[in-house]
């Protein structure tokens, strides 16, 4: 009987497979990314290395000494005091205490402050509270401390916002009206995101994390890129991290452009130059996890996309490796065996500058 090794499904379930089957899944995942993105698949050596990482006998694995990279954080201290909706563990504490716990207890390389709703739009009514908390955090923290939130353009459409929902308009075949709605929402999003960061920069914030860019499609990315450009122009020294929502920018509008490039349909290696052009310092490329596939397939696919993005980028790439992205299983408590294997593969094979 062939030896079987344990690994995970994309939803986190433990499974057992032979070395040959795991290798075949890595190859299939890599081929899928190569086909979609028109990028090189992993080489035989790289796939062999990934296989070695996956079947490594230890419960956890780590990068070779000297290959460590900074680990940046999204969601901020909400993971300490937040509820299950933000994957928080519900420990009553202030955001300052949560941030200091990350710095002094967990060994975080950077941290961020985030609002409990974690979208820019709802920050506006409580901006003074956010400024006050940021000020106190900056006085007490040593590691770089950003302000993070999601562009989340969905909040600008009915029933949550002022603009007619483009999904509803498209269902009624009102395509140009839907495009107008997306464009107007993006303009409002730019105004809000820039205004919020203007206030926070004036109280000493290190910078901003645009988290899950493109979650509402190309309008979301259009708003984010233009916000980044405006903030870079006004604050030359601001730290800007631009993290994506998925590997592909969905064309909800379809014709929005940045710097002469149509945003719809861009893959990570095509997103990277635009993010740099807009003025970000760090790019957070993403590849979503398919829960019906194995971690070998997902990791093969994800590392292939990220490797191409790292090569195309002129700025550091901190790959997004939270729940359900970057080869990490899609559940709130991703198994540590899978997390550390994905972490090592991403650093040692994709060559990312951070996580």
């Amino acid at each position: 009987m062939a030896t079987e090794y344990f690994l995970r499904m994309g939803d986190g379930q433990k499974i057992f497979m032979t070395k040959e089957d795991i290798r075949a899944d890595i190859e299939a995942g890599s081929a899928d990314a190569a086909d979609l993105g028109d990028i090189p698949a992993l080489t035989e050596d790289q796939m062999d290395k990934m296989l070695d990482i996956i079947i490594s006998p230890g419960r956890i694995v780590g990068v070779e000494p000297g290959m460590e990279v900074p680990v940046t954080h999204d969601i901020g201290a909400i993971r300490i005091d937040g509820d299950q909706g933000n994957s928080g563990v519900g420990i009553p504490s202030s955001r300052l205490v949560g941030s200091m716990m990350h710095e002094r207890a967990f060994g975080a390389d950077t941290m961020e402050l985030g609002h409990i709703d974690y979208s820019y739009k709802p920050v506006k009514p409580v901006i003074s509270q956010e400024c006050q908390t940021m000020e106190v955090c900056q006085q007490n923290m040593i590691i770089p401390m950003l302000y993070g939130a999601m562009p989340n353009m969905g909040l600008y459409y009915t029933p949550d916002g002022p603009f007619e929902n483009p999904g509803d308009l498209m269902k009624a075949f009102k395509i140009s009206e839907a495009q107008d709605s997306i464009f107007h929402a993006a303009e409002h999003g730019i105004r809000d995101m820039v205004w919020i960061m203007q206030r926070l920069q004036h109280v000493g914030c290190d910078g901003v994390n645009f988290d899950t860019i493109g979650a509402a499609g190309d309008g979301d990315m259009y708003a984010s890129l233009n916000s980044i450009e405006a903030l870079r122009k006004e604050f030359p020294g601001i730290y800007i991290e631009a993290g994506m929502a998925g590997e592909l920018v969905l064309g909800m509008h379809g014709e929005l452009e940045y710097d002469g490039t149509v945003l719809a349909g861009l893959w990570p290696h095509q997103q990277a130059p635009l993010i740099a052009k807009a003025g970000a310092n760090v790019f957070g490329p993403v590849c979503n996890t398919n829960t019906s596939r194995t971690s070998a397939w997902n990791l093969g696919r994800s590392v292939t996309f990220m490797k191409a993005a790292v090569e195309a980028s002129t700025i550091p790439c901190h790959v997004d490796m939270g729940m359900g992205v970057g080869g990490i299983p899609m559940l709130e408590t991703p198994p540590i065996d899978a997390v550390t294997r994905a972490s090592k593969a991403m650093v040692e094979i994709a060559g990312v500058d951070g996580i």
Partner: protein
């Protein structure tokens, strides 16, 4: 909560336990890729790039340079005071330190 800690333990530079905050700061401040950022910080600290993730080396060095240490040592620079020493060490401006100087004149 365990996931980010797993990343830190598997691949991270462990922040102020070692020199992760300094390398991350140069990536953000000067768009440095990982190799360039590590070379830059190692040169400023007078250590090898491998030492940047070595708690044994960095623990004493951070205390000596007064740029913030992981444990609460009485009298050592903390928070914004440590960042003002980091500014001098790395030759950069940090926004909150600029604001602090503005306020204190």
């Amino acid at each position: 909560m365990g996931m980010p800690i797993a990343h830190i333990m598997a691949s991270g530079m462990t922040g102020i336990r070692a020199a992760g905050d300094l390398v991350a700061r140069m990536q953000f401040d000067k768009n440095m890729r990982i190799g360039e950022a590590k070379d830059f910080v190692a040169k400023k600290l007078g250590v090898s790039t491998a030492d940047l993730s070595d708690e044994y080396v960095m623990r004493e060095l951070r205390e000596e340079l007064d740029i913030g240490v992981i444990t609460s040592v009485p009298g050592c620079a903390k928070g914004i005071a440590a960042k003002m020493n980091i500014e001098k060490l790395l030759g950069i401006d940090i926004n909150c330190c600029d604001k602090f100087r503005e306020i204190t004149g």
